[in-house]
Amino acid sequence: MELYRPTEEEVLREMRRVKRKSKRKRLAWGLLIWFTLAAASGWYVFNQFYTLAVVDGAGMNGTLLSGSVVLCRRTHGARPRVGDVILFEHGSGWQFKRVAAVGGDSVALSQNGRLWINGKAVADFKSDFSGYDAQLALQPITVPEDSFYVLGDEYGLSVDSRSPDYGYVKAEEILGVAEYTLWPLHRAGKQIR
C-alpha cells in the first residue's frame, strides 16, 4: 500500500485551515468572556455608583428637556448642596428638581416672584407669578432638618415645594444627583448645573 504524501502546498493549506479555525475559536471565547465581563461590570457600576433616568415633563425645562436621558450619581446618604439638581422619589414616581434651600435655611417668596433664602434674594430664581407665589407670599419659613426645599427651573409649570401639598423632600427620598445629559444627541455630555 502506497502512503499518500501531500504536497507542500496541501500541507500549507491544511495548516492555514487549522490556524483559521483556532483563531475563530479564540475569538468566540474572547467575545463571550468580554460580553460577560462587560455586563457584570456594567451591572456593578450601575448599582453602586450611577443610575440613568428619563425626564418626563417640562418642570425642569431649560436645564432638562422632556425625554432627556440623564446620568445620575448615587449620593449614598451624602447631602446635596444648594443648586444641585436631584433625582428623588416623590409620591408614586420619581422627579428631578433643583435644591433651593436645605434644612435650617429660611425661605420666602415675595409677591414680585423673587425667592429669598436666609434674607438674601437669589438672582437666578425668578418666578412668573404662576399663582403659587401670590398664595405663598408668606412670612419666611424655615426648612426642617434633613429636608430640602426644591424648585423646578420652569416656575410656571413646575409643581414643587412652593405648593403646601407637595412639601419638602426628605433626605432618605433622594436617589442621586443629576450629572450629565446623555440624550438627546445635541446635548450629550453636557454637564448639568
Binding site: K19, W34, A53, V54, G57, G59
Partner: protein, 292 residues
C-alpha cells in the same frame, strides 16, 4: 470568491435595511440639532428679559389680540413683536416635537417649524385667547433626482418629521408653549380630522391652543388644548412633571458598552501581537527569500 460576494450581498442588504429604518430618526435628530441654536438663543433672550421689557412685550401682544377681537382684518393688525424672529417654542414630548413658532409670512417656517395663524390670537395665556398653529406633516427628502425622489416619497423618508406624528396625540396629552409671556401648558381635550374649510376654534372662557397639520389634499389633523395653570391644575401638571428609571438591562448595556469596546480593542491588539510570533513555514520562506 463566491463566499466573498455572498457576504458582501448580506452586508449590503443589512445596511440597506438599517438605512431605511434609521434614516428618518437620524435625519430628524440632525434637523433638530440645527434648530437648537435658534431655540436656545430664543429661550436665553426670554429668560434675560427685564420686568419692564417683559411687560412691554405683553402689552404689545395684548394690543394685537384686542385689535383682532375688534374685527381688524389681517392687513390692519399691528406687526407682531418677536424675539430672535420667533414668537414661541412648541413642545409636545409625547410625539417628540420641539419646534420654533414663527409669525405668519415667514418663508423658512414651512420647512423648519410651525407658523402662527395671523387671524388667531397671540398666546398670552389670557382667558378667551384662541391660538392656531399650523405646521407641515414632515419634510420629505429631496435629492433633485427624478429617479430617486419618487422612491423617497413612496417610502416616506422624511428629512424632518415636524408634525408627522400629530395624529398619535391623544386626549390628556400635555403640550407646552414657551413664549415671552411665560411658559404655558395645554391639555389636549379633543383631536379631529377635518377639511380645510371647516376648521373651527373652540368656544368657552379658557385659553385655547389648536395645532394643525396637513394630511394631504384638503384633509387636516387638529388637536385642541385647554390651558392648565398653577395652582388649580397642579394635580395634572405634577403627573407630567416627573422622571422614570430605565430598565436594569438598559443601564447595564449603556454602562457596559465602554467596557465591551475596550475589551474588543484589547483582543485585537492580542491578535496582532500573536501574528508576529506565529508564522507559517511559507511566510518564513517568503521572508527569507526577500531578505536574501
Amino acid at each position: 470568491m463566491k463566499s466573498f460576494f455572498g457576504h458582501l450581498a448580506c452586508l449590503l442588504a443589512v445596511l440597506a435595511v438599517l438605512f431605511f429604518v434609521l434614516y428618518p430618526h437620524l435625519s430628524d435628530q440632525r434637523e433638530q440639532a440645527q434648530q437648537i441654536s435658534l431655540i436656545e438663543s430664543f429661550e436665553k433672550q426670554v429668560k434675560s428679559m427685564s420686568d419692564d421689557e417683559a411687560a412691554d412685550f405683553r402689552a404689545a401682544w395684548e394690543a394685537y389680540n384686542q385689535a383682532l377681537a375688534a374685527g381688524a382684518g389681517e392687513k390692519q393688525l399691528p406687526e407682531i413683536e418677536t424675539v430672535n424672529g420667533l414668537i414661541a417654542v412648541l413642545e409636545v414630548p409625547e410625539i417628540g416635537v420641539r419646534l420654533p413658532v414663527y409669525p405668519a409670512g415667514n418663508s423658512q417656517a414651512r420647512d423648519t417649524g410651525v407658523i402662527h395663524a395671523a387671524t388667531s390670537a397671540l398666546p398670552t395665556g389670557e382667558k378667551g385667547t384662541r391660538t392656531l398653529l399650523a405646521g407641515n406633516n414632515g419634510r420629505l427628502t429631496q435629492l433633485d433626482n427624478p429617479w430617486i425622489d419618487p422612491w423617497l416619497e413612496k417610502f416616506q423618508l422624511f428629512s424632518a418629521q415636524l408634525l408627522h406624528r400629530l395624529d398619535q396625540v391623544k386626549q390628556g396629552t400635555i403640550m407646552y408653549l414657551f413664549t415671552p409671556c411665560g411658559a404655558q401648558a395645554y391639555e389636549v381635550v379633543e383631536t379631529q380630522k377635518t377639511q380645510a374649510g371647516k376648521i373651527r376654534m373652540p368656544e368657552g372662557e379658557n385659553a385655547w391652543l389648536a395645532v394643525m397639520t396637513n394630511l394631504g389634499g384638503q384633509e387636516r389633523q387638529l388637536v385642541y388644548g385647554k390651558r392648565l395653570s398653577l395652582p388649580a391644575n397642579s394635580v395634572v401638571l405634577e403627573h407630567g412633571d416627573g422622571a422614570s428609571i430605565p430598565s436594569d438591562a438598559a443601564n447595564v448595556l449603556l454602562i457596559g458598552s465602554p467596557v465591551l469596546a475596550a475589551g474588543l480593542v484589547f483582543m485585537l491588539l492580542v491578535e496582532l501581537f500573536r501574528r508576529r510570533h506565529y508564522r507559517l513555514p511559507a511566510d518564513s520562506k517568503k521572508r527569507n527569500s526577500s531578505e536574501g
